[in-house]
Amino acid sequence: EAAVTQSPRNKVTVTGGNVTLSCRQTNSHNYMYWYRQDTGHGLRLIHYSYGAGNLQIGDVPDGYKATRTTQEDFFLLLELASPSQTSLYFCASSVRLGGEDTQYFGPGTRLLVL
């Protein structure tokens, strides 16, 4: 089973604050993803990447930046946090081998923006 870790697990910040969420995967997966999960919306894709230095825009990118510094590490940045960004954030990774795309998820980060 692929290992995906996230930090911090919980974060509280104030409106306008600067937040960085970290994700690391240790199985050399090419693809990494950031999702947010909100009641009534399921999971929504924020950004994803297919390798170090690459960034692809997801479905709800506004207010978020992301950076893939290495094969293992993918960061989500909220530079001016707003209460609407209060959510549960999941990171995931996948191999993308032969068309199959099993995603492995981290444990999630709960973010509260006051």
Binding site: G40, G42, L45, G58, A92, Q103, F105, G108
Partner: protein, 109 residues
């Protein structure tokens, strides 16, 4: 509009009963997947099933691509099956992954 619709939104079963969860998608989709979210929040992949039928243990997924629907059948449900089940598709139009809003399953002892 909503590209992925799941039904029912919630389901309560007695242990031992079977469950049938439905997923309908509105766009041309590839790479349909089913996921399970533990009550504590952990997400795991169940099936990658773009077409046809797949089995694992007590779970069976059937996707009929040209009818834009997929189902997840849980046989002889157990209390440990409780949680939320999501389907997700990758739209071939936008190449974006879209999740449904999930079916919350509660299996009573």
């Amino acid at each position: 509009g909503q590209q992925v619709q799941q039904s029912p939104a919630s389901l309560v079963l007695q242990e031992g009963e079977n469950a049938e969860l439905q997923c309908n998608f509105s766009s041309t989709a590839t790479r349909l997947q089913w996921f399970y979210q533990h009550p504590g929040g952990r997400l795991v992949s169940l099936f990658y099933n773009p077409s046809g039928t797949k089995h694992t243990g007590r779970l069976t997924s059937t996707t009929v691509t040209n009818e834009r629907r997929s189902s997840l059948h849980i046989s002889s449900s157990q209390t440990t099956d409780s949680g939320t089940y999501f389907c997700a598709i990758r739209s071939s139009n936008t190449n974006k992954v879209v999740f449904g809003t999930g079916t919350r399953l509660q299996v009573l002892p």
